[in-house]
Subunit: 570 residues, 2 copies
């Protein structure tokens, strides 16, 4: 009987999914045709509304886990991955009753919601005691929001939990089974916050799918000074919100003791302000993390060197807007940005920058509605995102809905407990996010885009050279002065030709592309290989560190050591 009910639920789900998939395909294909007009959206904040949440629950609560059936279904899924067997099994643990453990009622679990009463959480029908772990939770205090209740809705958003390692860790905390539970299916599509994700270019290689995080092939990256919008890396922390342009509003709370009413601007009003254009590269704090990981594991998306792009952004200058609102320079103030992308507790994505950056005309902070002369795409913050040139991507808040001038930084997870650097010897037992500074300006970096690692490169028979190409960038508006290449571990260095905008230093926010001709020695020819190193120097004559060992940090951010690429010679 129970099995039958499960099957009928599954069928219902599959049919709904298929129907929804067709609808989704139709809309995204239409928008991908891109006739230059803005897409029309029927819903705004759809999944935020209570009825939407009920819908999620309704469709989600369709089946209870049964080992055999689930395994069957999993093995049928298209998304086959390495380690499927181990991971697939691990994904069943929380929907499997462990007969060696006691069973608890939801009311019992609820009482364990603080360290002194122990911290219990549930996932599926598993009950877990995470008291000791909570302190060291990489996501910080967020875990306490689930204390005494279910972590399922959080994990649906923060899909970085969906790894064998995390599932194993969780199961090690298991203390029991939850009585009479129906398990939400995390694969549920229709009505879920992920239901309205935009369609992405096939060449974007995802580091994670939910939230969507993807980079273009690095071999294409140095092809164009302005990165094509559809190949620009995407770094989403939450589901992409659906914002209707005609309903869009930006609230600006400029503070001030006089209890000033916040300013509210429509999209049309923002577009009516003087248009300011700035070329700026945006780089993820975790760009090149995969190279750091190769030294020692870190927590975070495994980005290659493609979590960066360079674009021409246009919009209204924030400094003008703030000054019109009477905001005066103040060294201890901050400007907080909030996005329309919400976490399961309805808290928006948020970040902040110092007021001094926001007020500085040379800071070139803009409320951007155009990227390379086209309207922003949904993945890049349609209709408005803030561009904070020279500053780590995480502060360039997308789907911007609110700006607050405040005497403190954003209290968001991403400002307080993420995007910070630590000493290589700081581990998850000793880390104190409160003691490190939020990353703002990024350090100098560079990467070799072509040739690719392992590529077979033809040496020019006339002169014995190979051609190497890549990008370089530094934060804070610091211009790239030089990129040096070596093929012999630094015994000789060869200076690259730079392609860069003629922007003044301190305001040089775009990246520099570079091309170098690297001489190949007879030895290298005979060995049929060479390891190329690249290092950039910025206008403060800061230079990249040589290797990752001494800049390693547990979050894998700021991975700016020399880029080293081994290639084969033909």
């Amino acid at each position: 009987m129970r099995l039958l009910w499960q099957r009928s639920g599954m069928l219902q789900k599959l049919m709904l999914q298929r129907k929804h998939y067709r609808r989704w395909l139709a809309t995204t294909t239409a928008s991908a045709r891109g006739n230059g007009q803005e897409e029309k959206y029927n819903a705004r904040y759809k999944w935020r509304k209570p009825e939407c949440k009920a819908e999620m629950l309704l469709y989600g609560v369709c089946w209870t886990g049964g080992l055999g059936l689930a395994y069957f279904l999993l093995s049928q899924r298209g998304e086959s991955e390495a380690k499927l067997d181990d991971e697939a099994l691990a994904r069943l643990w929380h929907i499997t009753v462990r007969k060696d453990l006691p069973t608890y009622k939801a009311e019992q679990v609820e009482q364990h919601n603080a360290p002194d009463k122990r911290i219990w959480v549930t996932f599926g029908l598993g009950v877990y005691d995470v008291t000791e772990f909570a302190e060291n939770h990489p996501g910080g205090d967020k875990i306490m929001m689930a204390a005494g209740s279910a972590i399922d809705p959080f994990w649906a958003i923060y899909q970085q939990h969906n790894t064998l390692e995390v599932l194993e860790l969780l199961e090690s905390f298991r203390i029991g089974n939850l009585e009479g539970v129906t398990v939400a299916n995390t694969d549920e599509e229709l009505g879920s916050p992920w239901a309205q994700e935009p369609k992405r270019h096939a060449l974007l290689k995802p580091a994670s799918k939910r939230p969507f995080n993807a980079e273009p092939p690095i071999g294409l990256l140095a092809e164009k000074f302005y990165t094509p919008n559809e190949l620009f890396y995407v770094r989403n922390h939450l589901p992409v919100p659906v914002l209707a342009p005609e309903e869009y509003e930006l609230e600006i709370d400029a503070g001030g003791g006089e209890q000033k009413e916040p300013l509210t601007l429509t999209l049309a009003q923002i577009k009516a302000l003087p248009k300011h254009t700035v070329t700026a590269a945006i780089m993820c704090g975790g760009n090149r993390r995969s190279e750091m990981t190769s030294i020692k594991a870190v927590k975070g998306l495994s980005w290659g060197a493609g979590a960066v792009g360079n674009a021409k952004w246009s919009g209204a200058r924030l400094c003008d807007l703030l000054r019109e609102q009477g905001v005066q320079p103040n060294e201890s103030m901050h400007v907080i940005f909030e996005g329309a992308d919400l976490d399961p507790t309805s808290h928006p994505y948020g970040a902040s920058i110092p007021l001094s950056k926001a007020l500085d005309p040379r800071g070139d902070v803009i409320l951007a509605y155009e990227m390379n002369d086209n309207p922003l795409t949904r993945d890049h913050g349609y209709p408005i995102r803030v561009i904070v040139p020279g500053t780590v991507g995480a502060r360039n808040v997308k789907w911007l809905t609110r700006i607050v001038v405040a005497d403190h930084e954003s209290d968001s997870h991403w400002q307080q407990n993420d995007y910070k650097g630590f000493s290589p010897s700081t581990d998850w037992d000793t880390v104190d996010f409160g003691k490190a500074d939020a990353i703002q300006a990024m350090p100098v970096t560079s990467a070799i885009c072509t040739p690719l690692p392992g590529e077979r490169v033809k040496v020019n028979p006339q002169d014995g050279y190979i051609t190497v190409r890549g990008y370089a960038w530094s934060g804070g508006g610091r211009k790239i002065l030089r990129v040096d290449l070596t093929g012999d571990a630094g015994q000789t260095w060869h200076v690259a030709e730079l392609e860069q905008e003629d922007a003044p230093d301190g305001r040089h926010y775009g990246w520099s592309l570079w091309t170098a001709r690297l001489p190949i020695t007879k030895d290298q020819q005979e060995q049929e290989q060479v390891e190329i190193w690249a290092k950039a120097v910025d206008s403060a004559y800061n230079v990249q560190p040589e290797k990752f060992e001494h800049i390693w940090n547990l979050r894998g951010v700021l991975a700016n050591a020399y880029h080293k690429v081994k290639v084969k010679l033909a």
Copy 2:
């Protein structure tokens, strides 16, 4: 007869020197007593005036070189140095007639003053053909000012020529002897531009005496957050000028198409402007050069890690003055500073900064008359120097007499052909100073001040730690976020405690002192030694490079690799 004349000249010289020395001692001792009042100077620009030059010549032309006598005199000099024998002999070459070479008249030499006519110069009674060398002259075009004439007055100023290597190089260009010459004695004191150098603290260790360049013992440097004025490193490029406060004038030429009359300000007028105080470390571009030299020789003064100091500077804000003069922001303009210190052609020391830095209220550029609440000392620019916080020392022009807003950088030697960085593979044959950017903001650095290299350090018997102390600083107002120490070549890192001003980032111009407790392993105890490494991280999360090999440059500037100090353990 000739010898007798020489002897009488020598006697006359020695007597004059003694008399002058007594006078000099009396005045400088009085000023060193420092009762807080400004020193009174009788002469202004004394050695610039024509009568002064005549004086120089009169006293200078006292003896013609005779090998035996000169050698006798040299061997009597108190300034004994290593390599005295070789160097002492080399110093006689230019006052020795080479019988294997022809003799030329001054008029003949004069005709060889351009590459197409060959470039000849004289030094003492030597005639040299420097045509091929001129292109690669480390001092750039300056050499052409001596084309067809004597280099003696230049070398009297640029005493970096006074090395065995340079003398040997010069002698290799020798083509003849100059007819009927009297040789100026470069040791001449009275009337020379060096006659009125101030008295310096005995603890300042000179890297060169003329011009005076000296640093304090590094062991003292981290003792005080504000470096005592008398121990603050001194970096002079030319003789110290003598400026009378009541006669001092600063000319400000704000440019402008309307042929505006330049503004002239007296010292009293500058002091009457609103007083602005900023804590700023000033660092020489060549600080820590001696560590870079240990990898491979470079040209430049052999600075230790003490060519830096931290002070509280007070004066008038340049941005206010410029704005009052109607100067508007312009990204392609520069502000040129000229000092009262003159080279032998009466060209002043000069440097420039971008106008954007000068106009930025957060740039905190001031016309300083106080250093740590006391009037500037003569060595530090009395009565006025410009303080350009966050910017290499060379742009903080001392004895400031002129400010020009211009559409180009300063054309001084020090802006154009010095204080620039190059790739490690750039040598004196390939260097093109025109292609590199003048150093402005400095990169992040740090140094271990105690213990000193080779020092025997007692390990705390209770906890097995040693205490390490030093400084860290970054240019461009970037705050130091962290200093990491390791005693095991980077296997474990220990974060230092910072002592720093509570200044906002971007405007954090002072240095940070730091103290770390470094654990000593049993292995290190047994080997009775440990090598300590320090590295700093600034607010753009830039980090020092690991070693000097890959940042080596022919001028030995920007020497900011990890500081590594080996100590003995007790």
